[in-house]
C-alpha cells in the first residue's frame, strides 16, 4: 500500500511539475512578445477605442494592437525607445514626433553598437525630399518625412507579397523555418532587390504626391516634373508595371541608387539621373547603353506633343486605319449583297450554294432555249 501511495504521490508530483513546466513555457513565449512593453503601455493602449477628437475635429485612435505590433520589425524595441519624449506615466498630451534617427537599445550582433537609422537619415537629409532651411512653410509641410513612406508594412498590408522562399532557401540550411518572421523577410528581400515593396507599390507611393499637381506646384517644378507620373505610365516601363511586372523599372530603379534615399534633382551631380551618371543607371538593366540610348524619353510626352512629324504620321495612320477598315468591310458587305441578290445561299449543301432561284433544271431549259 505504501508503495501504491508513493506511486500516487509520484503521479501528483509529476502532474504538478508538468503543469509548471507548461506554464513556464507559456510564460516565456508570452514574455517574448511582452518584451517591447516593459513600461506596460498596453495597459491603456490595448483598448481599441482609446482616442480623442482634436481641436480641428480629427479623430485620432491611439490603440496599439499587440497581435499586429508583435509581427512588425520594431517588435523587440520598447515603446519609450522611440517615444523617448515620454518621461512619466500616465503621460501628458504628446506634442513631439518620433525621431527615427534616435539610437535605440538594440545592439547589432556584429558591430556591437546601438542600432540607428541615423546613416540613412543623413542621406535623406541631403536629398530633395528633406525640408531645407530656405523652404517656405507650405513647402516644408508638403515634403515627406520617414513615416510618410514607411508606414509599417504590416499596417499597410502589401497586396503583392513577393515569394521569399527563394531567397530564404539558403538561410534555411542553418536556421529553422519556424523562426521566420517579418524581420527575416525584411532583411532577405533587400538582398535581392532595392526594396521589399513591389514596383506597383513604389509607383503608387510616389504618385501619392507626384501626381498631385497642386501639391507639386508649391515647389515650382518644371512641366516635365509636373506630369512625370502621367508620362511614366505612358512609357513601356509604366505600362508593364501597371500590368504587374516585377522586372521593369519603377521610380526608384532610376531615381535612387542602392542607398535608396539619395534622390536628387537631375542637375545635381550626385543624382542617378545626372547626365554623366545616367548611362550607368540605365546599365542596371540595359547592358549595352550608349550616348544615343540615354536620350530616349523615359517619360514620353503624348503622341506628337512637340513633335509635328510623329503627330502627322499618327494622324495619317488613323486615316489609313479607318479608310482601310471601312473600305474593305464595305466592299465585303456590297459583295455579299450583290451575290445574295443573284441567288447564292449561305450554306454549301448538296454540293452547291446556288440552290433555289438558280435550280439547274430551270436554267437548263432556259439555256437550251437560248442555244436554240
Amino acid at each position: 500500500m505504501a508503495r501504491l501511495r508513493d506511486l500516487n504521490s509520484l503521479k501528483i508530483i509529476g502532474t504538478i511539475s508538468t503543469f509548471f513546466v507548461l506554464i513556464c513555457v507559456l510564460l516565456s513565449i508570452s514574455s517574448y512578445a511582452r518584451a517591447a512593453d516593459e513600461d506596460n503601455c498596453l495597459m491603456c493602449h490595448k483598448y481599441r477605442f482609446l482616442g480623442r477628437i482634436d481641436e480641428n475635429g480629427n479623430r485620432i485612435n491611439y490603440n496599439v494592437d499587440p497581435r499586429i505590433f508583435n509581427d512588425t520589425v520594431h517588435r523587440t524595441i520598447a515603446c519609450r525607445e522611440c517615444h523617448n519624449y515620454i518621461k512619466k506615466i500616465p503621460h501628458d498630451p504628446v506634442t513631439e514626433q518620433v525621431n527615427c534617427g534616435t539610437l535605440c537599445h538594440v545592439i547589432t550582433p556584429f558591430s556591437k553598437e546601438r542600432f540607428s537609422h541615423q546613416h540613412i537619415i543623413e542621406i535623406y537629409n541631403s536629398s530633395v525630399h528633406a525640408p531645407k532651411p530656405d523652404d517656405s512653410p507650405k513647402q516644408k509641410e508638403a515634403k515627406p518625412g520617414c513615416k510618410f513612406c514607411h508606414l509599417n508594412p504590416i499596417y499597410s498590408l502589401p497586396k503583392h507579397n513577393i515569394p521569399y522562399d527563394v531567397s530564404l532557401r539558403r538561410c534555411l540550411n542553418c536556421h529553422q523555418q519556424k523562426g521566420v518572421t517579418q524581420a527575416y523577410k525584411h532583411i532577405t528581400h533587400r538582398i535581392r532587390r532595392k526594396t521589399s515593396r513591389s514596383s506597383q507599390e513604389i509607383v503608387a507611393l510616389c504618385a501619392k504626391c507626384h501626381a498631385d499637381k497642386e501639391l507639386m506646384e508649391r515647389f515650382k517644378v518644371s512641366q516635365e516634373a509636373l506630369t512625370a507620373v502621367e508620362t511614366y505610365k505612358r512609357s513601356i516601363h509604366g505600362e508593364s508595371v501597371t500590368l504587374g511586372s516585377q522586372e521593369t523599372a519603377d521610380c526608384i530603379s532610376c531615381h535612387a541608387s542602392n542607398k535608396l534615399h539619395d534622390i536628387y534633382k537631375k542637375d545635381d551631380r550626385r543624382a542617378t539621373i545626372f547626365s554623366k551618371n545616367i548611362n550607368k543607371t540605365c546599365q542596371q538593366c540595359h547592358e549595352q547603353t550608349n550616348r544615343w540610348f540615354v536620350e530616349i524619353a523615359v517619360h514620353p510626352r503624348s503622341e506628337g506633343a512637340g513633335n509635328p512629324i510623329v503627330y502627322f504620321i499618327s494622324i495619317s495612320l488613323r486615316f489609313a486605319l479607318y479608310g482601310t477598315v471601312f473600305g474593305l468591310v464595305g466592299l465585303m458587305l456590297l459583295e455579299t449583297y450583290g451575290r445574295k441578290r443573284k441567288g447564292i445561299k449561305f450554306l454549301l449543301r448538296h454540293g452547291t450554294s446556288w440552290r433555289g432561284k438558280a435550280t439547274p433544271e430551270k436554267s437548263k431549259q432556259k439555256i437550251q432555249k437560248n442555244n436554240n
Binding site: H286, V325, L348
Partner: protein, 334 residues
C-alpha cells in the same frame, strides 16, 4: 435570244453581244460564265490551290498572330479593364513579354520560310518553263479593272463577275498589306526590343550624312516614339482587318459559311474556283484530266455544246476579241 436564269434579258444580250459569256476549251466545249451555279462541290475542296508549305505557313502565322495580338494588345493597352486578365492568362506581364517575343520569332521564321518557298517554287517553274506571272500575286492593271467590274456586278450594272486569275484583287490587296505590315511590325518591334542598338545606328547614320541634323537629342526619342506608334497602330489595323474582313471573307460570306476548309486542305471548292478564279479553273481543266471529264459531262448534261477530245495537246482560248468571235459560229451551227 432568251435570258439565262436570273439575269436581265438586256444585260445578257449585251454580254452575248460582247461574247464573253462562253469560253471555248478544246476537248471540253463552251463553258458558260455562270456554270458555277450548276456544278457539284465538295466542301473540303475539289481543286488544288495551296501547297502543303503554304498551309503550314498559314497555320504558323495565324496561331502566332493570335498569341501576338492577345499579348501585345494587353501590354499596350495596359489600362483597359480586360488587359490584366489576358496578361494573367499568359502568366503575368514579364512572361507575356517573353511569349510575345517567342511568337514573333516563330512568325518571322514563317515569313522566311515563305520567301524560301517562293524563291524555290518560282525557280522550279522557270526551269520547267511553267512560270506564268498571271498566276502569281504580282499586281496588274487588270486587277483594278476587275475591282471596278466586280463593284458594277454587285450593283447590278454588269451581268457576270469578272474572269479572275488564281489571286484576285482582294487577295493581292491583302498580300500587299501583309508584306507592308510585316516589314513595319518586324522593324518597329526590333526597335522596341533593341532600343540601344536602334537608337545608336539610325542617328549615327544620319550624323554621318549630315552632322548638323543630328546635333539635338531629339533623334533617339523620335525613332523610339515612331517605333511604338507604328508597331501599335499597324498591329491594331492588322487585327481589325483580319477580324472584320479576312475572317468574314473566308468563313462568313455566302457560299463559305460556316467554314471554308481551304486553309487546312489546300483545296478550293469547284464553284468558288469558277466564280472568283475563272482563269485558274481553265488552267485546272488543262492540268487535270478528271476535271476536264467532269466539265464535259456536266456541259453535256446541261445541254451545252461539247467538243470531243480530238487532240492530246490542249489549248485554252484567251478572251481576245478575235477568238471570242470564232466561238460564235460554232454555237450557231448547233
Amino acid at each position: 435570244m432568251v435570258a439565262p436564269p436570273d439575269i436581265a434579258t438586256a444585260a445578257v444580250e449585251e454580254a452575248a453581244a460582247r461574247e464573253d459569256y462562253f469560253t471555248y476549251i478544246e476537248g471540253v466545249g463552251h463553258i458558260p460564265r455562270d456554270i458555277y451555279k450548276h456544278v457539284k462541290s465538295d466542301p473540303a475542296g475539289d481543286l488544288p490551290r495551296y501547297s502543303t508549305h503554304i498551309v503550314i505557313q498559314h497555320i504558323l502565322v495565324s496561331t502566332t498572330f493570335l498569341v501576338l495580338a492577345a499579348t501585345g494588345l494587353s501590354l499596350f493597352f495596359a489600362d483597359v479593364f480586360w488587359a490584366p486578365y489576358v496578361i494573367k492568362l499568359f502568366g503575368g506581364a514579364d512572361t507575356a513579354r517573353y511569349v510575345h517575343r517567342v511568337a514573333a520569332a516563330i512568325m518571322i521564321f514563317a515569313a522566311v520560310y515563305h520567301i524560301l518557298t517562293l524563291v524555290a517554287g518560282t525557280t522550279k517553274k522557270v526551269m520547267n518553263n511553267e512560270f506564268d506571272y498571271r498566276r502569281t500575286q504580282i499586281p496588274r492593271l487588270k486587277d483594278l479593272h476587275d475591282l471596278i467590274h466586280d463593284i458594277k456586278y454587285f450593283l447590278g450594272l454588269e451581268p457576270f463577275r469578272p474572269k479572275m486569275e488564281k489571286f484576285c484583287y482582294k487577295q493581292k490587296l491583302h498580300y500587299l498589306a501583309i508584306i507592308w505590315g510585316t516589314i513595319v511590325l518586324v522593324s518597329a518591334g526590333l526597335a522596341l526590343l533593341y532600343p540601344d542598338v536602334v537608337s545608336k545606328t539610325i542617328p549615327e547614320a544620319i550624323f554621318k550624312i549630315s552632322p548638323g541634323a543630328a546635333t539635338g537629342g531629339a533623334f533617339p526619342t523620335f525613332f523610339q516614339d515612331l517605333a511604338r506608334l507604328m508597331h501599335a497602330d499597324e498591329a491594331v489595323m492588322a487585327l481589325i482587318v483580319i477580324a472584320l474582313w479576312h475572317l468574314a471573307n473566308v468563313h462568313i460570306v455566302p457560299g463559305r459559311f460556316p467554314f471554308q476548309w481551304t486553309f487546312l486542305t489546300g483545296r478550293i471548292t469547284r464553284e468558288h474556283q469558277i466564280e472568283e478564279h475563272f482563269w485558274e479553273y481553265i488552267r485546272n481543266l488543262e492540268e487535270i484530266p478528271e476535271e476536264k471529264e467532269y466539265m464535259r459531262n456536266l456541259l453535256r448534261e446541261k445541254g451545252f455544246e461539247v467538243s470531243e477530245p480530238m487532240d492530246t495537246t490542249l489549248s485554252r482560248q484567251t478572251p481576245e476579241p478575235g477568238s471570242a468571235e470564232e466561238s460564235t459560229p460554232e454555237k450557231e451551227e448547233n
